[in-house]
């Protein structure tokens, strides 16, 4: 089954994203805690794009496609522009984040710890980030 959502680049849209994901995840056998984590991981990537790749310009958008099968969920996040390569991003150490009193930088750590596989590809102006969650993993 496939579901799509277009998110305009405004952080106020994040609650709509959560509702959209919640409806999809409710139909899986993931526990409440796991559903919550998957919602968080997808939101972290989208929030990152909205804020850093698109400067919260609400005229721009990102597209989310969710492809669900019995064994796997794939979250495909598409945007146009410079792109944010999540695979090349070097996450900071938590201790460094605390020391520097910075308020960002930890979202991608969450994504990498929650999801089972992450892909990023960029072609011309189009960027695709795919987050995979196995439904049979424990």
């Amino acid at each position: 089954m496939n579901s799509q959502l277009r998110l305009y680049c405004d952080t106020a849209q994040l609650s709509d994203l959560r509702q959209f994901l919640e409806a999809i995840l409710k139909q899986t056998q993931l526990s409440e805690v796991e559903q919550h984590q998957v919602i968080l991981a997808v939101e972290e990537v989208c929030a990152n794009m909205i804020i850093h790749s698109h400067d919260c310009n609400s005229k721009e958008f990102i597209d989310l496609n969710v492809i669900s099968s019995q064994s796997m969920l794939v979250f495909e996040i598409v945007d146009f522009g410079e792109g944010f390569n999540i695979l090349e991003y070097q996450e900071p150490e938590i201790s460094q984040v605390i020391k520097s009193k910075r308020k960002g930088g930890i979202g991608i750590i969450l994504v990498k710890r929650i999801m089972d596989k992450i892909e990023f590809e960029s072609f011309e102006n189009k960027n695709v980030c795919r987050l995979y969650k196995n439904l049979n993993s424990k």
């Binding site: 952080t11 106020a12 994040l14 609650s15 959560r18 409440e32 805690v33 919550h36 984590q37 919602i39 968080l40 939101e43 972290e44 929030a47 909205i50 804020i51 938590i94 984040v97 605390i98 020391k99 009193k101 910075r102 308020k103 960002g104 930088g105 930890i106 979202g107 750590i109 969450l110 710890r113 929650i114």
Partner: protein, 110 residues
């Protein structure tokens, strides 16, 4: 939606968070925290019984105060986290760096 109620009880400030914290409203948490610090709070208790969701933007706010609290001997404790929200702290190991308790009484004991 995030609602923050601030209350002073004896010598502790209690911040009751209700709703969801994400990148759109984490500044509200930051503002509330800095306000209680400016008011000279030495003990800050965060009641999360009504908190349904927190993203890295919200976690980052708590983390950004840890050094300052340590330097100025300000005690902060979070309590009554729902399991799904607690797990987000746990994934990052923040449950080892921030005092997290089940009840307000435990939080007061440190």
């Amino acid at each position: 939606m995030l609602n923050i109620e601030k209350q002073i009880e004896n010598e502790s400030w209690v911040l009751k968070l209700t709703g969801e914290i994400d990148a759109s409203n984490s500044v509200e948490l930051d503002a509330a925290m800095s306000q209680v610090v400016e008011n000279g709070a030495k003990i800050i208790l965060i009641d999360c019984s009504g908190l349904e969701y927190i993203s890295s933007a919200g976690l980052g706010v708590f983390m950004s105060y840890l050094e300052e609290f340590e330097e100025n001997n300000i005690k902060m404790a979070i309590y009554a986290l729902k399991e799904k929200v607690f797990q987000v702290f746990h994934i990052l190991g923040l449950d080892q760096l921030i005092t997290i308790k089940h009840t307000k009484e435990e939080a007061l004991e440190g």
